[in-house]
């Protein structure tokens, strides 16, 4: 019986495009942990892309895609690795939309994805170290590397006339990578970083950290942390002691929660988060409608990551990661027919008909280097207790 099953599977695999199958895609995000207020929207966006694909029934001869969620915890590499292992070996996922935070993404990539030859497209891992990680062409991201974010941050601050800052970062791959790339870019542009100090997440009291940051001084405090974790604690302690009045927030801090926590206390602060004003972003937000907040950070990236997996499968004519991993760059980049969110059905048909496509999606996807987004950022400001969009860069 077992041999028979194996034989049937083998036949089904070799038959490839012609036979319809139910393709499982892992959605590994930190549904618990320091960015748990962002992940529900990210998961919903990924699943919206899958629903769209299924509704079109144009994928690989009527195949369907199903989401299998896994909790990366964002910080616990052991837990994330175990979840990825389970999704691949027991659920049999053919690709992973995830993971979210840089540390766990690197851990899953090197321990599980490489060993099993599974394609991973992360919507939000931004550590510069992942650009050079060994990936056998299996790893992509629809979020830009923080090396780029460091440069954008520098531009934002210098344009606002701030040339002396203190930096504090959450003590992990994401925080350290971002803080270091920012410091390098800022100092190269002539700015001064008075102190670049870590803070630990999950503490009750950050007054000692603020004491050190305040002693070093600076016109603005750059908080490269998480809004649901120490980042908010740092801001609270800085405001309480009057050490800093305005802040600069990178992507991990930009959230509705930040405004909810601090209201008008952070007026005059600045920040940036991956985002674009391309037509796709608007379409995506409209598609999300009332189901979830389509402008929530990394939701659009999650939609795009899922779409890329599916489109690459279609282009390769197979759901086998070894076959479709080479097609990801092809469907994402020019030349070809431009694809907006909501046009996944059209895109699948075009690919099936042999037409080259250029997936733009919700974030104007353009993969560069080893397969990471070139990066578009939305610059935000805070006025009257609300977050406003200053401009796009």
């Amino acid at each position: 019986m077992r041999k028979l099953l194996l034989a049937t599977t083998a036949v089904a695999l070799s038959a490839g495009a012609v036979s319809a199958e139910d393709i499982k895609i892992g959605v590994i995000l930190g549904f618990t942990g320091p960015i748990e207020s962002l992940t529900p929207q990210m998961g919903a966006a990924a699943e919206m892309a899958m629903a769209e694909v299924n509704a079109s029934s144009a994928l690989l001869g009527g195949s369907t895609v199903t989401s299998v969620r896994g909790d990366s915890t964002c910080i616990d590499a052991g837990a994330a690795t175990a979840v990825a292992e389970r999704l691949i070996t027991s659920d049999g996922v053919k690709g992973i939309m995830g993971a979210d935070c840089s540390g766990v993404t690197g851990a899953i990539l090197s321990n599980v994805a490489l060993a099993n030859g599974i394609v991973m497209i992360s919507p939000s891992a931004t550590s510069p170290a992942l650009s050079t990680a060994e990936d056998n062409g299996l790893f992509f991201r629809t979020a830009p590397s923080d090396a780029r974010q460091g440069v954008v941050m520098t531009d934002v601050l210098l344009e606002e006339g701030i040339d002396t800052v203190a930096v504090t970062y959450t003590n992990n791959d994401y925080g350290k990578g971002l803080a270091d790339s920012f410091q390098a870019a800022f100092e190269a542009a002539g700015g001064t970083v008075t102190i670049n100090a870590a803070h630990e997440d999950g503490k009750a009291d950050y007054s000692a950290e603020i004491g050190a940051l305040a002693a070093a001084g600076g016109d603005r405090l750059v908080v490269a942390g998480y809004v649901d974790q120490g980042g908010s604690g740092i801001v609270r302690a800085a405001l309480d002691s009057g050490a800093f009045d305005t802040f600069h927030f990178p992507d991990g801090m930009i959230s509705a929660k930040l405004v909810e926590n601090f209201g008008s206390d952070i007026d005059g602060s600045s920040g940036q988060v991956p985002g674009t004003d391309s037509a796709g972003a608007g379409i995506f937000a409209a598609m999300a409608g009332d189901d979830f907040d389509g402008t929530s950070p990394f939701a659009a990236e999650s939609y795009d990551a899922t779409a890329l997996i599916v489109l690459a499968m279609q282009a390769a004519g197979s759901s086998d990661p070894a076959a479709y991993k080479d097609k990801v760059m092809e469907v994402a980049n020019a030349p070809g027919l431009k694809i907006q969110p909501g046009q996944l059905g059209l895109a699948l048909q075009a690919v099936a008909a042999g037409i080259d496509i250029d997936y733009e999606g919700a974030t104007a996807v353009e993969l560069i280097g080893g397969g990471e987004s070139a990066g578009n950022y939305r610059q935000v400001g805070y006025e009257g207790g609300a977050e406003i969009t200053v401009k796009y860069r």
């Binding site: 870590a198 004491g211 002693a215 070093a216 309480d240 002691s241």
Partner: protein, 337 residues
């Protein structure tokens, strides 16, 4: 002169006031640990989570009051809820004593066994708290945030440095003073308090003179419940409430109790402040303070920070080890560990 004032304000804002509040919280915790050690004769590792439990009940009752629209005006509603936290903690501790500790007391178990038992209790209590309120941050402070905020201070005094004094810090310090005075009055002036001290000094002699041990044990747990719930709630109010944070708090609390001399209430208070001030002072960069005090020529370029803030907990560890090495009975005369 202005420079001197500025230096003083900076030091108060970042060192003196936070350390005073933190020290009061540690002192309340260490008093509980030291009482249990003195009278029940074991180190209670479940103390941190007892504080978490008291704080949790206080938070739940605070939310209830807030829902009913009851408030204390400028003061946090939590102050009204603390008695309920104390009552619930007392019930929990007495139940634990009946179910767990009494058995080992009757066995005349060695203190080290009781320590391990208390670790088991710690895990159960920690689980209980996380089960009821969840593992996340909870905010329950309301009312006026500041007695004086940094911005107002600058405006009033015209100094270039601000001084912030939070309402919760003020309440913490005042409450701690009241609780400590009440405790010492109780221990030194009342019959029950005296019998507790007698029991602590010499158990056999106390029993011979007709002191009821069950009553002493019960009163001890009640006092510990009061100290733990108050300390826990004040810590949560001043900083933030998260179940795991109380587990981390266990180290500085024990350090405070041991440094002061285990079993000696006066030592616990002194120990609390010694630990708090060393933690804050050693990790505080003196650059700004020295910048004001020293002439321009000598102004430091570096932060003048003895130890990075990452190593805050190492400070209490180090003090603990030094005291144990050179003065095993603590600064005040306590029992040796």
């Amino acid at each position: 002169m202005i420079d001197l004032l500025n230096a003083l304000v900076v030091l108060s804002n970042y060192v003196l006031i936070p350390a005073l509040a933190y020290g009061s919280q540690l002192a309340l915790g260490a008093l509980g640990v030291t009482l249990i050690y003195g009278i029940l004769r074991f180190s209670n590792f479940a103390h941190g989570d007892t504080m978490a439990f008291g704080a949790m009940v206080t938070i739940l009752v605070t939310w209830l009051f807030q829902g009913w629209g009851i408030s204390l005006g400028p003061l946090p509603t939590a102050l009204l809820a603390i008695p309920f936290g104390i009552a619930a903690t007392a019930a929990l501790l007495l139940t634990t004593d009946q179910l767990v500790y009494r058995f080992y007391r009757q066995q005349k178990a060695a203190p080290v066994i009781l320590v391990i038992v208390s670790m088991g209790v710690m895990f159960v209590m920690n689980g209980l708290v996380r089960f009821i309120i969840g593992p996340n941050d909870q905010r329950f402070s309301d009312g006026e945030r500041f007695i004086i905020s940094a911005r107002e201070f600058k405006k009033i005094t015209g100094l270039s440095e601000g001084l912030a004094f939070k309402t919760t810090q003020g309440i913490t310090i005042v409450t701690a003073v009241i609780v400590v005075i009440a405790l010492f009055w109780f221990l030194n002036r009342t019959r029950t308090g005296k019998s507790m001290r007698a029991f602590s000094d010499n158990e056999d002699l106390a029993l011979l003179s007709g002191i009821n041990p069950d009553r002493v044990v019960m009163v001890t747990w009640l006092i510990v419940a009061g100290l733990a719930a108050t300390g826990g709630a004040l810590y949560g109010l001043d900083k933030s409430f998260k179940p795991f944070i109380y587990l981390q708090l266990l180290l500085p609390i024990f350090a405070a109790a041991v440094v002061g001399g285990l079993g000696n209430p006066l030592g616990a208070i002194a120990g609390g402040f010694v630990i708090a001030f060393s933690e804050v002072l050693i990790t505080y960069p003196l650059k700004k303070v020295l910048g004001y005090l020293l002439p321009d020529r000598f102004e430091p370029d570096t932060l003048v920070q003895l130890l990075s803030t990452d190593y805050k907990f190492a400070v209490s560890f180090t003090i603990l080890i030094i005291v144990l090495l050179f003065r095993p009975t603590g600064l005040f005369k306590g029992k040796s560990v």
